[in-house]
């Protein structure tokens, strides 16, 4: 499984500096949950890790590949980094099977039968083996997100990035997706997860990173950061999210 090493990462959109110097290491098999208020830069940080956003300065290294090096083949690097989006972003014109096989066939040049076999085993992994002929529009949000996870897993990534994977789901569908992610974590996948699901962070994360205003404010095991936060900003945020009415 992959390791991630981020040093002094800055990212600006025009005059607005979204990331103001991030240092973060993720060891192989670690599950890191990024939490923090909206606008704190969590999603931008995640999108920098597979170069969907290019860093303004600083370095990002996944295994021995430096994504911030202009000579790096980003297409090749992204094959080893799976990404799951808040809005699923399944391809609506392709069936579930087509969604999971298109990159295998066009990028990895696998044969149709090999790609479909791989897709079948990944669908079984997320509990959707029987829906391979359906189109995304015929699936519930939870099923779509699990297909999106299977689509990423079919490329055999060493690192999985999750960008608020349950935020667009109806509450009763969140559990299925989290269960799949939990299983993935148990199998030793390196994962970086942007999430507001504090119970998932508490139970599954090996480390929680609290971000605010483009900086890492606090980081540590979930038991420490979530139950005994050292910074005021972390405390205020957790209070708001755990007791929204108070």
């Amino acid at each position: 499984m992959s390791t991630v090493r981020i040093r002094d990462l800055h990212k600006s959109f025009g005059d607005h500096e979204v990331l103001r110097g991030i240092d973060l290491d993720v060891a192989a098999g670690e599950v890191v949950c990024l939490v923090g208020p909206s606008g704190s830069g969590k999603s931008t940080l995640l999108r920098c890790v597979n170069a969907l956003e290019s860093a303004t300065s600083g370095t990002i290294q996944v295994d021995d590949v430096e994504l911030t090096d202009p000579d790096t083949d980003l297409d090749a690097a992204r094959r080893r980094i799976g990404m799951v989006f808040q809005q699923f972003n399944l391809f609506p014109h392709l069936t579930v099977l087509g969604n999971i096989t298109v990159a295998q066939r066009r990028v990895l040049r696998r044969s149709r039968s090999a790609a479909e076999k791989e897709a079948g085993s990944q669908l079984a992994r997320v509990g959707l083996a029987e829906r391979s002929r359906a189109y995304p529009a015929q699936l519930s949000g939870g099923q779509q997100q699990r297909v999106a996870i299977a689509r990423a897993l079919a490329m055999h990534p060493g690192l999985m990035l999750f960008d608020e994977p349950t935020s667009a789901l109806d509450p009763e569908l969140v559990g299925d997706v989290l269960a799949v992610m939990r299983k993935l974590a148990d199998e030793g996948m390196t994962m970086i997860v942007v999430t507001h699901e504090m119970s998932f962070a508490r139970d599954v994360a090996t480390r929680v990173v609290f971000m605010d205003d483009g900086r890492v404010v606090e980081t540590g095991p979930p038991a420490e950061v979530l139950t005994n936060p050292q910074h005021d900003r972390t405390r205020t945020f957790l209070q708001r999210i755990l007791h929204p009415g108070a």
């Binding site: 391809f91 990159a103 066009r106 990423a152």
Partner: protein, 262 residues
């Protein structure tokens, strides 16, 4: 007077006016003469089968050739217009603005007479068919390019991001993920362009067609002169509608499907 009564009276008056005008026209018109000028069965019969086997067929061939050229060149222009390379964008924008602003007839003259005058020792391949493809296709490409660009931009950004995150290169993501969705979105406007191109083939006669390359409008015009009777125009008009009406229905069906969200 109550509002409801007044509304009914207004509605009734509108119907009455319509019926009255219809009656006046029906009584005043010289039906015998009209039928004699526009609907003479012997004149109509004399046009067949040539009007179908030659004229209608050529109209369809010209339309398809010009549309195919417009689609391919239009796709190239649309991609150039969205290219990160600035000169490609400039060229595409300039081409589109110029050719959307010129009358199709002028472009046809340019290709049919302008180019042969400028390069007398060379010929446009395909003879008249080549000239029509280029002359009508050059204009069609400009419209098609704008339609395709709109379609490509209507595909959510998350689609190409998902494709890129799977390791697909930008061109692969365009071909396998974005374009198939964009084409689906622009199928109704593209069909509309096909319909208007069908009608634009009536301009082809200015290039000087022969008995073998004649299309519907010229064919009808010639018959009109020969017979000194307007029936050929009616026959040609009906044959155009045979092509365009089903396509218009198709557009409507496609739009219904799109608005339902597949």
């Amino acid at each position: 007077m109550r509002l409801r009564t007044r509304r009914r009276l207004t509605r009734g008056a509108a119907y009455a006016i319509f019926v009255a005008v219809l009656l006046v026209v029906a009584v005043a018109a010289d039906w015998g003469r009209l039928a004699d000028s526009f609907l003479r069965p012997d004149v109509a019969a004399g046009m067949f089968p040539g009007v179908v086997t030659t004229a209608l067929l050529n109209t369809i061939i010209y339309t398809i050739l010009a549309f195919a050229f417009g689609l391919i060149a239009g796709l190239a222009l649309a991609l150039a217009r969205l290219s990160p390379v600035a000169p490609y964008r400039w060229f595409a924008t300039a081409y589109i603005e110029v050719f959307r602003g010129l009358p199709a007839l002028l472009v046809l003259f340019l290709v049919g007479y302008g180019i042969p005058l400028a390069f007398p020792d060379r010929e446009i391949p395909g003879g008249l068919y080549g000239s029509v493809t280029l002359g009508l296709g050059a204009t069609a490409a400009a419209y098609t390019a704008e339609t395709l660009r709109a379609g490509i931009q209507a595909v959510p950004r998350g689609q190409s991001e998902a494709a890129r995150s799977l390791g697909m290169s930008a061109p692969r993501s365009m071909v396998f993920i974005v374009l198939p969705q964009a084409l689906r979105i622009v199928l109704p406007p593209l069909t509309n362009e096909f319909v208007s191109l069908t009608k634009d083939t009536s301009l082809v006669y200015v290039l000087g067609v022969t008995a073998g390359t004649i299309e519907l409008t010229k064919y009808a015009g010639d018959a009109l002169n020969q017979e000194v009777n307007a029936t050929p125009l009616v026959v040609a008009g009906l044959l155009y509608l045979v092509i365009t009406l089903p396509l218009s229905q198709l557009v409507r069906a496609l739009e219904r499907r799109t608005s339902r969200g597949r």
